[in-house]
């Protein structure tokens, strides 16, 4: 894979290098996350689930994946 396709992103506060192009859908698949179980925030904007397929992850993106955990 040519070097210039490397995509570096900030994912949940950590730097990550993706070895291939991803949509949000394929990124969630790669992370083994069910799309219905998480909410995706891309560069501080919440993504609607029906846009995951059409949204490419691009170099420099900041992505937050959040879900519900136990709390009061």
């Amino acid at each position: 894979m040519p070097h210039d396709t490397t995509i570096e992103i900030q994912l949940n506060g950590k730097a990550r290098t993706l070895d291939r192009a991803h949509t949000v859908t394929s990124l969630l698949e790669a992370l083994e996350l069910h799309p219905g179980m998480v909410v995706v925030e891309l560069n501080r904007e919440i993504l609607q689930r029906d846009s995951y397929n059409a949204t490419d992850v691009t170099h420099g993106d900041t992505i937050e994946l959040v879900h519900f955990v136990g709390g009061g």
Binding site: N12, E32, V66, H67, V69, G70, G71, G72
Partner: protein
Amino acid sequence: METRSSSSTLWAGDDMTDTDTMIDDARALDAPLHIGGVEFVSRLIVGTGKYETNEIMVDAIRASGAEMVTVAVRRVDLDRTKEEAILHHLDPDEFFLLANTAGCYNAEDAIRYARLARAAGFNEFVKLEVIGDERTLLPDVHATLEAAKTLAGEGFKVMAYTNDDLITALRLEDAGCVAVMPLASPIGSGLGVVNPYFIREIKSRLEVPVIVDAGVGTASDACITMEQGVDGVLMNTALAAADDPIRMSHAMKHAIIAGRLAYLAGRMPSREIAVPSSPTEGMLD
């Protein structure tokens, strides 16, 4: 008017127990609680944090009879997702999920967390919580009010955690909150209601439901809180940190119903001298 799913265990007819009978008493003797257009039979709202295991959590919540349960919004831990995702353990068809903004120290963060929670797609309710101080976890009421205005304007049904301060409670109601939730005492303290007068005053002055949130330690605290006439109680640590959370959840269910019915029944006047219960006439010579 939206009503809770008939599949809720609260309504199950096949496996009636003594405590289900107690719930029936509450249904017969009390009106349901309406919050933001949703009807609840139970006046107990419970958290899902700090349980030793997810199995104990689910069993405890079922034992409490609560229909509305709070959850927090956090980053997915990409190393161990299956363990911590609460929806692997809690069925959203069984419980009404109330996402909170716990951990937020300013209005901007609380608004961000609320929007993320709504995007999860369950409902538009949020337990708004903006903390102002780490040691006491007391709310920043100015930031809470600011966030409440924004969120209510965006169509959220805001249930706002606040101090036992009447003026703030009135402002939160004016801001469009569907419930105002003054504390009994600091979060996780288990001190019970430290200012019943203020709680009663808030309840008497607001139109929207008043839910006492935080500070209840044991069943008597819950009962005394409900005897002030409030619409409900929200608790987490009192259940999760009990030696036996499931048994404590049963106790809390009874305490909430007992306190509510005692309030509705109207207590006898208290006095400082005795009054005999048996006739003073007809005694033998």
